[in-house]
């Protein structure tokens, strides 16, 4: 029987079948989209739906056009799901981490190299500038741009890589561990400034070693695994002669992140303390709170009230980026002259 559609019916049919064809043609891309969603019902459902879609698409060889196009534009690995935490150095011998004391009104903290006398600091010049690589989640972008604006001939920002919603907890979303192996060869940085953790502060973690399980955010097992990753990254880069700057997470607006961000900050800070000569921690939380330790969208800079945070209560404005960049350079000055 032939069904005769009116125009509206035809519109619905074209929409439905068109989306179905598009889904089959980019099934692997959809599969990755499903994989990288936050843990929960929506992700489980998306994974269940995309599994047969990928199977059908591969059977019919419908994945080929997208693969060929990706190959032609140099983005052939875009649909690949890589959950491996690539850390080649063996874990360090168990030593208790330096405890981080909490005072009633802490000052912005940073861990510097107290042992390095000024004369031993390597000198960088305009002919041989200090190469800085900035990377991380969306919070890395503004401080990275601020560092790019710094007018110092002996300083060269070789890359600002900010990837939305990524971090060290979800290599399936974007594998920073792979990138951290490639970037030192490609960009030859001497300093790496990292901003991670805002998108890691949740219960789910991908790439956990076989046989291990990780509990919810803040549990001993979660903190141990996250510390293993932060520490592993620090040691891998240090081994390549790269000084690592960990940017702490800023004080957020609203109650949710106020509990989770400090968990990440404590780990970042304790790792920096464990490698005092080769890494440092920049405390943005206390840099951007008000006199009472509360979230402050505006701060006075040189007497002028200046907007520091975007309306989402997390991200920085350019002015906040400038403050962070100045602090980063101040701390890097402890180890390098430029």
């Amino acid at each position: 029987m032939r069904v005769r559609l009116n125009a509206a019916g035809r519109g619905i049919a074209v929409l439905f079948f068109g989306l179905l064809i598009a889904a089959l043609l980019q099934a692997e891309g959809l599969r990755k989209q499903a994989q990288i969603q936050p843990a929960g019902f929506q992700r489980d459902l998306a994974l269940d739906l995309t599994r047969p879609l990928v199977a059908v698409s591969r059977t019919l060889r419908l994945t080929t056009p997208r693969h060929e196009l990706q190959l032609a534009i140099g983005r052939e690995n875009e649909d690949r799901i890589d959950t491996a935490v690539h850390l080649s150095l063996p874990p360090p011998a168990e030593t208790p981490a330096t405890p981080v004391r909490r005072s009633a009104r802490p000052q912005p903290r940073h861990v510097q190299n107290p042992a390095a006398p000024a004369v031993s600091k390597p000198l960088f010049t305009s002919a041989r500038p200090l190469r800085v690589w900035v990377a991380g989640d969306s919070l890395a972008q503004i401080p990275g741009e601020a560092l790019e604006r710094v007018d110092r001939p002996a300083l060269k920002v070789v890359g600002v890589e900010s990837r939305l919603s990524t971090g060290l907890a979800r290599p399936d979303l974007y594998n920073w561990f792979s990138r951290m192996q490639a970037a030192p060869v490609e960009l030859r940085p001497k300093v790496a400034v990292f901003s991670f953790g805002a998108d890691d502060a949740h219960d789910f973690m991908a790439g956990v070693p076989d046989g291990k399980t990780v509990g919810p955010l803040g549990s001993a097992s979660w903190s141990a695994e996250y510390r293993r990753r932060v520490d592993g990254v620090t040691r891998e880069l240090n081994a390549k002669g790269i000084y690592v700057v960990w940017l702490g997470l800023p004080i957020p607006d609203g109650p949710g992140f106020k509990k989770s961000f400090p968990i990440v900050n404590r780990i970042l800070e304790s790792v920096a303390r464990a490698h005092p000569k080769t890494s440092t921690y920049v405390d943005t939380w206390h840099m951007l709170d008000d006199a009472h330790g509360r979230f402050a969208p505006y701060l006075r800079v040189h007497g002028k009230l200046t907007l520091m945070r975007l309306p989402d209560g997390v991200h920085y404005t350019a002015a906040a980026g400038d403050l962070i960049a100045a602090r980063v350079l101040e701390q890097v000055h402890a180890v390098y002259r430029f």
Binding site: L5, N6, A7, A8, G9, R10, G11, I12, A13, V14, L15, F16, F17, G18, L19, L20, I21, A22, L24, L25, Q26, G29, L30, Q33, P65, R66, L69, Q70, I73, E78, E145, E148, R149, D151, V157, L164, D253, P297, Y298, K304, L305, L307, P311, T317, A318
Partner: protein, 460 residues
């Protein structure tokens, strides 16, 4: 909920067939489409829905009161109340931070506010103002509450326009749409062209050159800065025109006709011509509810210039709560005044081409203030434009040049060619149309940068 996402595709796959199934039962249909629109809006933040509902209730009550009141004085008071409510509503959410921080800086006070801007508030507030003003003028009989609620919240136009007039949409909401009269071919071409403009052109230019140039102009050569500015001109066109194309296409599939919002703006031969082609629904809103009530061009030359400047300055402020937007509006206002004073009306082909080049560059110059996050950054961009010629320009790549060329060149495509593509698509079988649509989506998604950037005009 953003249009180019899987979430929206699933949402629309449910909403569209149910909408047509319920179309004959108008009261049920209105409830359905209102629910769908509120879900669409609540996807950002459910609290925004309360604001939208409050705006609907207050404007409806006042419009009905205006309609039922005969005394001129009382009508004026009611109109004043409605406009004060809408502008107060918009002013609080959009401008509280701006004015309080400016006051704090000037007076040394500490009135700091931290108000979150609800998505699309400028658009639905302007639609509400036009509704009550048209009712006051006697050009409109207030609709039932349900119809007005759908008019204001209808999800295709809700967050970034086009700014649809009550006289355009309410009559369409008065009776069931005819399922035989849906222009399917045009709808899908608009959706595909909108997605291409947004996902491929706008996102590519933003990530490849524009964001980098405007973040640190001093790190870039003059050539990169120049193409960063051209790139932004194309990016904002592709972003906004792309969004409204998708919105118009979606509305068409639901059986509704929205007004055109862009007509090849970078082919304009003068600024006056530009404003007839750029964000057309805002231009005519400003003309009908601001410029003409101010007196328009009927009260002598000086007042005409004043009215032009005021309209453009306030138009600038509508876009964003920052002085850079005011300057952007000021440049356009000044340009319009100069054109008026000199009587610039290019007629010959050579004069028109000269007009196009000059207009495009004046518009690009104004975009610098629109895009820069501060005056200091805008001046850096302008200064760098003249001081770093000859430096390496790695950001000016073939793909950037191609995107700019497509973004501008596409505006010179003759309407006949677009009509031919439309006719070609219409002739295809259902399978052919679905395959063309599906393959186009795959190509767009593969060619566009990873991730979905928010539309620029959401924050306005």
């Amino acid at each position: 909920m953003l249009f180019p996402t899987v979430t929206f595709a699933v949402f629309f796959l449910i909403v569209l067939p149910v909408s047509w199934a319920l179309m004959r039962h108008q009261s049920v249909w209105r409830a359905w489409i209102l629910l769908a629109s509120y879900v669409f809006y609540a996807w950002w933040d459910w609290r925004f829905v309360l604001l939208l509902a409050a705006s609907t209730v207050v404007n409806h009550v006042l419009a009905v009161a205006i309609h039922r009141t005969a005394a001129i004085g009382a009508r004026k008071v009611l109109l004043g109340l409605a406009i004060a409510f809408d502008l107060g509503f918009l002013g609080y959410f959009k401008y509280a931070n701006f004015f309080l921080s400016t006051t704090d800086n000037v007076a040394g006070t500490s009135f700091i506010a931290h108000v979150v801007l609800p998505v699309g508030i400028s658009f639905y507030s302007f639609m509400a103002i036009s509704y009550v003003v048209d009712t006051y003028r006697g050009e409109l009989v207030p609709a039932s509450f349900a119809r007005f609620a759908v008019f204001q919240a209808f999800f295709p136009h809700l967050v970034a326009g086009p700014i649809v007039r009550a006289s355009e949409l309410l009559p369409q909401l008065a009776r069931p749409r005819d399922p035989r009269q849906v222009d399917v071919s045009r709808a899908f071409l608009l959706i595909v062209s909108g997605l291409f403009l947004k996902v491929v052109i706008a996102n590519h230019l933003a990530t490849s050159i524009v964001d980098e140039v405007f973040a640190a102009p001093d790190r870039h050569s003059s050539l990169e800065v120049l193409f960063g500015i051209y790139g932004y001109a194309v990016q904002i066109f592709a972003d906004f025109c792309g969004y409204t194309n998708i919105a118009i296409g979606i509305a068409l599939l639901l059986g509704f006709e929205f007004p055109q919002n862009f007509a090849s703006p970078y082919t304009a031969v003068s600024l006056q011509d530009f404003w007839r082609r750029w964000h057309m629904t805002l231009s005519r809103w400003l003309r009908d509810y601001l410029y003409i009530p101010l007196g328009g061009n009927r009260k002598g030359s000086l007042k005409t210039y004043r009215n032009l400047m005021l309209t453009m300055l306030l138009g600038g402020l509508w876009h964003g709560a920052a002085w850079t937007f005011v300057v952007w509006g000021g440049i356009h206002g000044l340009g319009l005044c100069v054109e008026r004073a000199t009587g610039w009306r290019p007629t010959s082909s050579a004069a028109q081409w000269l007009g196009r080049i000059v207009t495009f560059h004046v518009v690009c110059f104004a975009w610098i203030f629109f895009r820069a996050d501060s005056f200091a950054r805008a001046w850096e961009v302008i200064r760098r434009l003249f001081t770093a010629w000859g430096a390496p320009s790695p950001l000016v790549t073939t793909s950037v040049l191609l995107a700019i060329l497509v973004g501008i060149g596409g505006q010179y495509v003759r309407p006949g060619a677009i009509a031919a593509v439309n006719a070609g698509f219409r002739r295809l079988s259902l399978a052919g149309q679905a395959a063309t649509f599906g393959v186009s989506l795959m190509l767009i998604n593969t060619l566009g940068p990873v991730g979905v950037a928010p539309f620029i005009y959401f924050r306005f």
